[in-house]
């Protein structure tokens, strides 16, 4: 039983205080690591994806272009022979004022580039929602750059569930793998993002 003589509680307080300080130090270190990781992840250069949706013939045709999809680091990764994948997550949404925007549909476009250092040829394959849509081979780096950054009128969504005279938007988030940066935070931000709205008129 403690005596409230003004001495023991102070000693007890110091012991608990030391422990609290140590715990706080641990928490601060952890938070600092997480902040650094998040900052590192956020340090990736944000690239803009220009999006142009078009509703036609019962489908939403999505065209998009990524600026500088292949920068020097990515090019170096490709040249090293690493299979490099450019993944674009495309979402069709309807904006909502008081709630989360409604997801009308989503699609994933993945372009994988393999470079053969022996033959100096690129093997490019395009996959849509896990299915191989197209495979190409070329010697030209420019062609590869074009193929991974320019997509023209991809029929990704149906217009059956769209309301007429209603505004929708297409949002695309792009990322490149493998990552050539390290962040403590495992869930990295997308390296490119873009969106565009359109009003559905049948």
């Amino acid at each position: 039983v403690s005596r409230h003589d003004g001495r023991r509680p102070r000693r007890a307080s110091s012991a608990t205080g030391v422990l609290s300080t140590l715990a706080l130090a641990v928490v601060v270190v952890v938070l600092a690591l997480m902040a650094l990781g998040a900052a590192d992840a956020g340090a990736a250069d944000d690239r803009v994806i220009r999006v142009a949706p078009l509703a036609r013939d019962g489908q939403v045709l999505v065209s998009f272009t990524t600026e500088a999809a292949i920068n020097s680091e990515v090019e170096r990764a490709i040249q090293s022979g690493l299979p490099t994948t450019f993944t674009y997550d495309v979402e069709l949404r309807r904006a909502s004022t008081f709630w989360f925007d409604k997801l009308m549909g989503s699609a994933r476009i993945a372009v994988t580039v393999r470079y053969d250092n022996l033959t100096r040829r690129y093997q490019v394959s395009l996959m849509q929602d896990g299915r191989v849509a197209e495979s190409r081979s070329t010697d030209s780096a420019e062609a590869v750059r074009h193929w991974v950054s320019v997509f023209d009128r991809l029929p990704l969504f149906s217009t059956r569930e769209l309301r007429t005279h209603t505004e929708y938007y297409v949002r695309i988030r792009g990322r490149t793998s493998p990552r050539n940066t390290w962040s403590f935070w495992p869930w990295a931000r997308p390296s490119a993002i873009g969106s565009a709205t359109f009003t559905f008129l049948p």
């Binding site: 422990l19 641990v26 690591l33 493998p178 050539n180 495992p186």
Partner: protein, 772 residues
């Protein structure tokens, strides 16, 4: 002294068995052990920790064998998630326990400070080196990673890759050139299936001249599928068997564009292939496709592939340098976090293991202090703390046994006290109820007890208690008892002695005896016992008088008749004698006869006193009996008024009506004579009529009825009161003097008593007390 019945004392609940050895303490109820104290769980936790550490170390050791992109994507992601989980766990454990410690400290729970200290020390001892090792290790990893890459290696690998690539490019250019030459040579040849021999001849010749390994010729079909169809193929004898078709390559070139490929052979080595469309004329549609191939030996292709693989691995490592560093740093961080969590948990666990038994001991001590002696602590371990707990439980058990013994002793003592109290009350009741007077003196000679009979016999009040006995018994009427009082007498009489006391002119006889109580070494207490033997003395006197009366009646009455007859004979004999003689004889004989008659009357009264029969009692309404008796005086008395004051709530009393009526008449007669006598003698001036009041009163507390006959006459001299009821005693100077003696005898034979006293404001009052 009769002993009170003994109340059996029930044994206290849960009393220990007989014997001096303390009973074995009841085993405390086993509570469910917390999960954290389960040895199996602790072993499992340690095992998991070891497995996790081993897995991390193994994974780190084999990381060089994993693909860099697998490391940077899968492994890095997994390790980062694990690290984050460990961080959250560490923060949770720390925050939870810090909060608990703060709460415990604020509640002033014991050992909160000790636990905080222990955890802080362990955490501090672990945290500082772990963070230092983490920082140093991170720098080591970064420095080591930077040493993986150096300019000479860069140059060598790049040059080798360039050589290999250039060689392959050169071979492909050469093969492509051969293919173009072949296409031109075959432009004029009909590629129809029927011209195979001619085609083969051309192709075989070109194969030998150009040192190619394989030439394949296709013709276009003009359809989309298949766009080409094989026509002929010619292989060099040195080409290993098992090479595949170049159909795909030819199909691609069918549209008009040349193409090339590098196809591995199953037996080793590679084929460098180049396709070229065959145009019949410039600008026309291809008529076919020729594919030229050169065989590269297995050794050459392997060397080239190794060069390329080494270069790519080196470059990939350079590209993935930061993720790979992250993998190793994450491993390191994970290990650090595991150590920190383990240290924190171990600190908390050790603190609990150390403080909990002491806390439980403290709580147990509080329970014991609160009187819960059946409280026990479960021994969780068999170490020193377990021994301490066992000792505590043993102490608590012995305390419990002692308390039960004390409780039993207390109950026995209480029972004995109750018994003694009962006996004391019993003795007090006896002392209060008995007719024997008891006076107790304490060792200091002060009066300690005076029972009711003693108060009545000795006319002592309750204020006598506590006063010195010598002072109390210094009163005039009590002086005869002085020899029996400690302090007043040097030695106490050894036997009972009769003492006569006179109070208010009334004599009483007491039989007194004093006894010293010597129970121990202390000074003795003394008990004085006095018995009123006055009624006994009176009865003895009455009995003596009855005997005298009987003898008088017998001895005197017998000679009276001859005396009377003789006197009458003498008078008759001298009736004829001379006048003087005759007158003398008549006078003398007449006097003799008169006196004899008087003597006869006296003897008759004595005879009646001696032969009084036993009373035949019946339940009688005394008020009615008194009214009847007093009715006899109606109109007979002059200047004397009889006033009956009868209590209306008088119970029936068993008396002999005839004898009791005689008692009342005797008393009223006495009162009337006293009033008349006083008036005749004019002893005192009488104001108004004489008043005789006859009263009845019920005393339910003592179970008696009082009947009083009082007058307002001159009263009785104080000295005569003791003799008033003696036979042959009269203040009137006439009569036999047996009236009041007969009254007393009748009252006594009814079990009652009669007292004579002064009436207020004047006169005499006779009070009869009869039992109900």
């Amino acid at each position: 002294v009769a002993t009170l019945p003994t109340v059996p004392v029930p044994p206290p609940t849960g009393a220990p068995p007989p014997g001096n050895s303390p009973s074995v303490a009841p085993a405390p109820a086993r509570t469910r052990r917390p999960l954290r104290d389960n040895p199996l769980l602790i072993l499992l936790w340690i095992g998991l920790l070891v497995v996790a550490l081993t897995a991390m170390l193994t994974l780190a050791d084999r990381s060089s064998q994993l693909l860099p992109d697998f490391l940077s994507e899968v492994v890095l992601y997994a390790v980062s998630v694990v690290d984050l989980t460990l961080m959250v766990a560490l923060v949770f454990v720390l925050a939870r326990n810090v909060l608990k410690l703060v709460v415990e400290r604020r509640r002033a729970l014991p050992f909160a400070r000790f636990r905080a200290k222990l955890v802080a020390v362990l955490l501090g001892m672990t945290l500082i080196p772990a963070v230092l090792v983490l920082i140093v290790g991170s720098e080591l990893i970064r420095n080591s990673a930077s040493r993986w890459f150096s300019p000479p290696i860069d140059d060598v690998l790049s040059s080798a890759r360039e050589i290999a690539s250039d060689y392959y490019a050169e071979r492909q250019r050469a093969v492509s050139a051969h293919a173009a030459d072949l296409a031109r040579a075959l432009a004029a040849v009909d590629l129809a299936p029927g011209n195979v021999a001619a085609i083969r001849a051309v192709v075989a010749s070109e194969l030998a001249q150009r040192q190619l390994s394989l030439i394949e010729v296709y013709r276009t079909t003009g359809r989309d599928t298949p766009p080409v169809a094989p026509v002929v193929d010619v292989a060099a004898p040195t080409l290993p068997v098992g090479f595949g078709s170049s159909f795909v390559l030819a199909a691609r070139s069918a549209a008009g564009a040349p193409n090339r490929s590098l196809d591995p052979l199953p037996s080793g080595g590679e084929l460098v292939r180049a396709s070229q469309p065959i145009l019949g004329s410039p600008g026309s549609a291809p008529t076919g496709v020729v594919v030229a191939s050169v065989y590269l030996s297995d050794e050459l292709s392997q060397h080239s592939q190794r060069i390329i693989d080494a270069y790519q691995a080196y470059e990939q490592m350079r590209v993935l340098r930061r993720p790979l560093e992250g993998v190793y740093l994450s491993f390191f961080l994970g290990l650090t976090l595991l150590i920190l969590i383990s240290a924190t948990w171990m600190g908390l666990y050790l603190a609990k293991r150390i403080t909990r038994p002491v806390q439980r001991l403290a709580a147990g001590a509080r329970e014991i202090g609160a009187g819960h002696l059946d409280h026990r602590i479960e021994a969780e371990t068999h170490d020193e703390f377990g021994a301490l707990v066992e000792a505590f439980n043993k102490m608590a058990g012995e305390l419990d046994v002692s308390r039960r013994r004390l409780e039993r002793s207390r109950l026995e003592l209480e029972h004995k006290s109750q018994e003694a109290e009962g006996r004391r009350r019993y003795l007090e009741t006896i002392l209060e109820r008995i007719a024997t007077g008891v006076v107790c003196f304490d060792a200091s000679g002060r009066v300690s007890i005076v029972n009711r009979a003693a108060q009545r016999l000795l006319a002592l009040g309750a204020d006598a208690i506590g006063r010195p006995a010598a002072t109390v018994f210094a009163r005039e009427d009590l002086r005869p008892l002085a020899p029996f009082v400690p302090g007043a007498a040097k030695t106490l009489p050894s036997s009972a002695e009769e003492v006569t006391m006179v109070r208010d002119g009334q004599e009483s006889h007491l039989l007194a005896i004093a006894t010293a109580l010597r129970g121990d070494e202390r000074a003795a207490e003394t008990v004085l016992v006095v018995d009123d033997v006055t009624p006994l003395m009176r009865a003895q006197k009455v009995a003596a008088w009855r005997d005298v009366a009987r003898r008088l009646a017998h001895e005197i009455k017998n000679p009276l008749t001859p005396i009377q007859l003789s006197a009458e004979r003498l008078r008759r004999h001298f009736s004829g004698a001379p006048e003087p003689t005759r007158r003398l004889v008549d006078e003398c004989s007449g006097a003799i006869v008169t006196e004899v008659e008087s003597l006869k009357s006296l003897v008759d009264e004595f005879s009646q006193f001696a032969r009084m029969p036993a009373p035949r009692t019946v339940s009688t309404d005394l008020n009615e009996l008194l009214r009847e008796a007093l009715g006899l005086y109606a109109g007979l008395l002059e200047r004397v008024r009889i006033e009956p004051r009868l209590s209306p709530r008088l119970p029936l009393v068993r008396v002999d009506p005839e004898q009791f009526r005689r008692v009342v008449i005797n008393l009223v007669d006495n009162a009337v004579e006293a009033l008349n006598g006083a008036r005749e003698l004019e002893l005192e001036p009488m104001d108004g009529d004489g008043v005789i009041s006859v009263e009845t009163e019920h005393d339910p507390a003592n179970g008696v009825v009082h009947v009083s006959v009082a007058d307002n006459g001159p009263g009785l001299p104080a000295g005569d009161r003791s003799k008033l009821f003696m036979p042959y005693y009269s203040t009137k100077g006439r009569g036999s003097g047996l009236g009041l003696a007969i009254v007393r005898r009748i009252v006594a034979e009814h079990g009652g008593s009669i007292e004579a006293g002064d009436n207020a404001p004047r006169g005499t009052r006779f009070t009869i007390e009869l039992p109900v």
